[in-house]
Every structure is written in structure tokens, then in C-alpha cells.
């Protein structure tokens, strides 16, 4: 036992070093900013902060595409970081502000309060929060009229549902998600006033297995068209539909028609690259004013994109309904609930 004692005494400091470096590796690989090296000191620098993985094939992936588009079209130096906990948001913003970034996108509603808090310390950096509505001289928001698209999706769902029960599955109950589901319901009811909407929230944006269970529970209650707005977790909703075959899914944020083409009627797409380019151009040219960009159907930023493979399932009557609803929305005669 003596031998063991001496050995473990010698080992203590070395061991703690090892554990600390383990932590360091973990932290770097969790939240470390991945910069694309393009050494130009006064280059236009744009950063993107997301809550989830940019490999979600949805909300975050679209923003990452936008970031790449800004790099390619405007020659910007770009960086992307994923926030692990809400408490880190301020710190993410401060880091980019301190490094002299010209434009920082906080990709989601949850970024607007941190942006307002941090912005005064970095007057040369513009903070733009997607889905945010609060502004300051160097803070802007983008309000996507996603509800327009969700309303159109509702029309398709209302017409496609045989059971008269449709579902909606979200990640967490953020105001934009709630608004989208309301618009979806209104769209469905415009076709079939008796349609019933089941709503469920996964509680996070990553647990694809739980999202699949939510979908299966809705299917067991008769839902045959489900609108998913749960980012990466939403992949589980597609998976549930694939196994029950008769159920149809409507994707959101990115064009998700390719995720499971055999069950996807279409997607409500936010053309994030287009929206982000509009803002980045303004910031680069100095035209940016702290205000909320309201982008939607009219700007080509929010669109209903039908899945060509299942297009035959959407009747000509429904297509006509979609066209007239689109015209009414553009003419602002139809007020979509938000």
C-alpha cells in the first residue's frame, strides 16, 4: 500500500492538469468560434451566432448558408459560433464586438435582449437579431412574416387532411412559433371550418427521438398532416411519418422537401440567405438604420414551396385557393393572424 500512496501523491498535480486540459478541449469543441481564415485587417467582418447546430437542415442551416453567401458575394470574413446556454449569449456578442466585427447576426428571438444590453459598448458593431423586434442605433431586428407562409401551408393541410385533424409540433413555445401555428390553424380552417389542430412542443430543439414520439402520439389521435417547426428535432417528425406512410408532413424554415420526399407535401421556406444579404448590403454601404426589417411574401423571403413529388396530391382547387390567398396577402386585404 505504501507504494500506491507515493504513486498517487506524485500523480495529483499532473492529473489535475490533465483534467483541466480535458475541460479546455471540451469547451473549445463545444463553443469555440470557427473562423474562416482570410487575413485582411480592415475587411468586412460578419459573424453568426446560433442556438443550435448549423447541420439541422432547417432554421440554423439556412442562416449558415446566408453567412456563406455574404462571404462569397461581399467578400466578407466570416465566423460562426453556437451558443450552448442562454447565459453565454452576452459573452458571444462581446467577443465579436471586441474583435471589431461589423455585423453580428443573433439568429433567433432569444438574442434580442442580449443585443440591446451589449450594443452600447460596441457602437461600431451592428447587431441584428432574426425574429427580434427591439431596436437601438446599432441594433436591428428582422421580422419574418413567416405567418403568411404558415397560413398558406394551413390551406394545403386543411385540404389534404382526410381525418379533419392536423398537427403542429414546435421546439419550444417561442412567440414566432406560436404565431406560425395560429396562422396555420387559420389557413386550415379557411378550407375546412371543422378542422381540429393538435399542438405539441418538444421542449428543446435537439431531441429527435422525443419529437418522433410527439408525432406518433398525434398520429394516434388521428392527425394525418403535421406541420413541424422544431429544427433538428423535427427530423424525428419526418421519421414518424415515414413509418406510418399515410401521414403527410409540412417542413419549415428551409426547403425540407428533400428530407423525406415521399411524405412531405411542401415547406414554408424563409429565404434566410436573401434576407441576410439585404441587411449585410445595408450595413456595408452605411445605409443601416436601427430598425426592424419586415420581410415576407412580398420580398420573396417567405415562400410556400411545394414538393414536386407529391404535387399531384394537391388538388387544382387548392392551388387556386393558394393563388388567391397569396394575392390577398400581398394586397394586404387578408390579415393573417400573428
Amino acid at each position: 500500500m505504501t507504494r500506491l500512496n507515493t504513486r498517487s501523491c506524485q500523480r495529483v498535480p499532473r492529473l489535475s492538469t490533465v483534467i483541466h486540459s480535458l475541460f479546455a478541449i471540451a469547451i473549445v469543441s463545444c463553443g469555440g468560434a470557427r473562423e474562416q481564415a482570410k487575413p485582411a485587417s480592415n475587411a468586412f467582418k460578419v459573424a453568426l451566432v446560433t442556438t443550435g447546430s448549423v447541420s439541422d437542415q432547417g432554421w440554423n442551416a439556412g442562416a449558415y448558408q446566408g453567412l456563406l453567401a455574404i462571404r462569397d458575394s461581399l467578400g466578407a470574413r466570416i465566423s460562426n459560433v453556437q451558443t450552448q446556454t442562454p447565459a453565454e449569449i452576452d459573452e458571444n456578442f462581446r467577443q465579436y464586438g471586441a474583435q471589431g466585427y461589423n455585423l453580428v447576426f443573433g439568429h433567433g428571438f432569444e438574442y434580442q435582449d442580449p443585443a440591446i444590453r451589449v450594443a452600447p459598448s460596441f457602437p461600431r458593431t451592428v447587431f441584428v437579431t432574426t425574429s427580434g423586434v427591439k431596436t437601438a442605433p446599432n441594433v436591428g431586428g428582422v421580422y419574418f412574416t413567416f405567418s403568411d407562409g404558415a397560413y398558406l401551408a394551413g390551406i394545403v393541410a386543411g385540404a389534404a387532411s382526410h381525418s379533419g385533424v392536423v398537427g403542429a409540433i414546435g421546439g419550444t413555445q417561442l412567440p414566432p412559433v406560436v404565431a406560425a401555428f395560429k396562422a396555420f390553424e387559420a389557413g386550415a380552417k379557411s378550407v375546412n371550418p371543422n378542422v381540429k389542430l393538435l399542438t405539441a412542443y418538444v421542449g428543446n430543439w435537439d431531441d429527435a427521438s422525443a419529437a418522433r414520439e410527439q408525432a406518433l402520439a398525434q398520429i394516434a389521435r388521428g392527425a394525418d398532416v403535421i406541420f413541424q417547426d422544431a429544427d433538428a428535432a423535427g427530423l424525428g417528425v419526418f421519421q414518424a411519418a415515414r413509418q406510418s406512410r399515410t401521414v403527410r408532413i409540412i417542413g419549415s424554415n428551409s426547403d425540407q422537401n428533400g428530407v423525406a420526399p415521399e411524405v412531405t407535401l411542401g415547406s414554408v421556406v424563409i429565404d434566410l440567405p436573401r434576407a441576410m444579404m439585404i441587411i449585410a448590403r445595408d450595413v456595408k454601404s452605411g445605409a443601416f438604420k436601427g430598425h426592424v426589417y419586415r420581410l415576407g411574401e412580398n420580398d420573396g423571403v417567405v415562400r410556400w414551396v411545394v414538393n414536386p413529388r407529391l404535387a399531384p396530391e394537391i388538388s387544382p382547387t387548392t392551388v387556386a385557393r393558394l393563388d388567391s390567398a397569396r394575392k390577398l396577402i400581398d394586397a394586404k386585404t387578408l390579415k393573417v393572424p400573428e
Binding site: 498517487s8 469547451i27 469543441s29 463545444c30 447541420s55 393538435l198 412542443y201 421542449g203 394516434a220
Partner: protein, 306 residues
């Protein structure tokens, strides 16, 4: 439309399966006196391993590689916590963080920002003749993906091994009274190392189940705290393999009830339902407090000197 009760019960078993695998492995680990908080890391590594393995050789290659990856993560933990006798809680936390961040990074390296999509092959539910026709619970228990049946076999085997074999006795002896066990000639570190590896193996299969029997794809952070829930399940199951399996069912029921309530279109705040499994954890832990018989040397790192 499937009838409501049956759909609910099927959901219970589906949700419980990955939890039961992880908890069964952790039961064996904890019986040796080691508490592996890094179990979450093994689950997420297993999930990524499952996608990679299944891409090469189908579903069962996916499970095999998931088990290997779960084991590999557990080996890192065992190196620190068993071989070097570092603090188990700190090592476990570091391993979890390392695995959560590392799998995300590796996933993007392997599949790019587009991800693996839903191209991973998955297990369809397989119906067992006769048994699946038992009223009420038949479909729930015997129309499941075949990995669930592996679990049904594994639970009694682990039970028998722990309580009826000489090796199982050695395992329990180390967890209860390491000094006496060492004096009796049992090589504590070797047994503990293997017990941690076994826990990692089942943790990996738990992650594999999430992918290959459920979600059909990998999502960063998709383990979503199941490793920690499994550790609570071990306590609720009173460090008994069968107890762990039954406790996993209780948790599965709490989650499935949550899915069920939301799907009924109730207007109650959904956060209330989401909190349900965790509230249940607290209640269960409080209720069994004082009556639990944890291995006496659980979590201790100094015992060779005692």
C-alpha cells in the same frame, strides 16, 4: 387509427428502452463502487457511432459500432477514475462535455453542415407471434424493434450474473467493502475497469437505439440528458438490474404521458407536462430516501488506503 391505450403503452416501452439499456449498464458500474457521470457521453458517442456503423454495414453493424464508441468514451473515464483514481464526478463531467462537443465536431467533419439526413437504416417493429396478442400489453411489449427483445434477454442474464455467479459476487464485494474484497484476492481496479466498460457498452447501445430504432438520424445533443436520467433510474431501481428496468418503465410512462397529454389538445401549459418526468425523479428519490441500499463504497476514490 390505433386505439389510444395501446398507442400510449407502445410509447412507454419505446421511450423506456434506451433508458433501460443505459441504466442497466450503470447499475453494474455502480455495483463496483464507481459512479459514472460520463454515461451521457457514452450515449451520444453511441448515437454518432450508430450512424457511422449503419452507413457501412446496416443496422446491426450500427449497433456494434455504437457499443464500441460507448465503450471508448467509458474507457477514457475509467482511465482517470479507476486507473488514476481521480475524482469520479469531475472526470465524469469532463467526459460528458468532451463527448457532447466532440461528437458535434466529428459529425460536421464526417457529414458536413448538410448532415446525414434520414438515410440511416432503421429497425421496424417486429411482432412476436402469440405473445403480441395478449390483451392490453401484448402489442406494447411484443411489437417493438428487435433491440427491445435483446433488452428483455439481457436483464435476467445480468440479474443472474450479478447475484448467482462468483464474478458477480466479486463485483458486489468491491462496491460494498473494497478492503475486504482486495484482501480476498479480488483485483479491484481490473473489475472496476471492466464494470465501467460494460456500462459504456450499454450506454453506446442506448444511443444506438435512439438512432437505429427511433430518430433515424444523428442530431447534435440528441441524448438530451438521458444519461443523467438513467443515473436517477439506477437509484430508483435500488442498484438492482430488474429494478432498473422497471424504474425505466416508470420514466418511460411519465414521458409518454406527457406526449399523450399534449396530443389530446389540452390547454394546460406544456411546460407542466415536460417537467413531469423530472418531478417524478425528485418524488421517487425522496420517497426511497433512507430505504435505499447503495453500494457502501460508491463514489469513493481513496479505498485502497483504507
Amino acid at each position: 387509427m390505433i386505439d389510444g391505450t395501446s398507442a400510449f403503452l407502445e410509447g412507454v416501452v419505446r421511450t423506456a428502452t434506451p433508458l433501460a439499456f443505459a441504466a442497466l449498464g450503470e447499475t453494474v458500474t455502480e455495483r463496483s463502487g464507481i459512479i459514472n457521470i460520463g454515461l451521457e457521453g457514452s450515449i451520444i458517442a453511441g448515437a454518432l457511432g450508430a450512424v457511422v456503423g449503419a452507413g457501412y454495414g446496416g443496422v446491426w453493424a450500427g449497433f456494434a459500432f455504437a457499443a464500441v464508441c460507448g465503450c471508448a468514451v467509458a474507457a477514457i473515464f475509467a482511465l482517470f477514475a479507476v486507473t488514476l483514481r481521480a475524482d469520479q464526478i469531475i472526470s465524469g463531467t469532463a467526459v460528458t462535455l468532451l463527448a457532447l462537443g466532440g461528437t458535434g465536431t466529428l459529425y460536421r467533419v464526417l457529414y458536413g453542415s448538410a448532415g446525414a439526413a434520414l438515410n440511416t437504416p432503421t429497425l421496424d417493429p417486429a411482432s412476436i407471434p402469440l405473445l403480441s396478442r395478449i390483451p392490453v400489453v401484448g402489442r406494447a411489449l411484443f411489437v417493438q424493434p428487435s433491440i427491445t427483445y435483446v433488452l428483455y434477454v439481457l436483464v435476467p442474464v445480468v440479474m443472474w450474473w450479478t447475484y448467482r455467479t462468483h464474478a458477480g459476487l466479486g463485483l458486489r464485494a468491491i462496491g460494498e467493502n473494497p478492503a475486504a474484497a482486495t484482501a480476498a484476492g479480488i483485483r479491484a481496479k481490473k473489475v472496476q475497469f471492466l464494470a465501467v466498460l460494460f456500462g459504456g457498452l450499454l450506454g453506446g447501445i442506448s444511443g444506438g437505439t435512439l438512432v437505429l430504432a427511433q430518430a433515424g438520424t444523428f442530431v447534435e445533443g440528441m441524448s438530451a440528458g438521458r444519461g443523467f436520467i438513467a443515473i436517477a433510474i439506477v437509484v430508483l431501481g435500488r442498484w438492482n438490474p430488474l429494478g432498473a428496468a422497471l424504474a425505466a418503465l416508470v420514466f418511460g410512462a411519465a414521458s409518454a404521458l406527457q406526449f399523450f397529454f399534449q396530443a389530446t389538445g389540452s390547454n394546460l401549459p406544456y411546460q407542466l407536462f415536460l417537467a413531469f418526468p423530472y418531478v417524478l425523479t425528485l418524488v421517487a428519490l425522496a420517497a426511497t430516501h433512507g430505504r435505499t441500499n447503495s453500494p457502501a463504497a460508491l463514489g469513493r476514490q481513496d479505498f485502497e488506503q483504507s
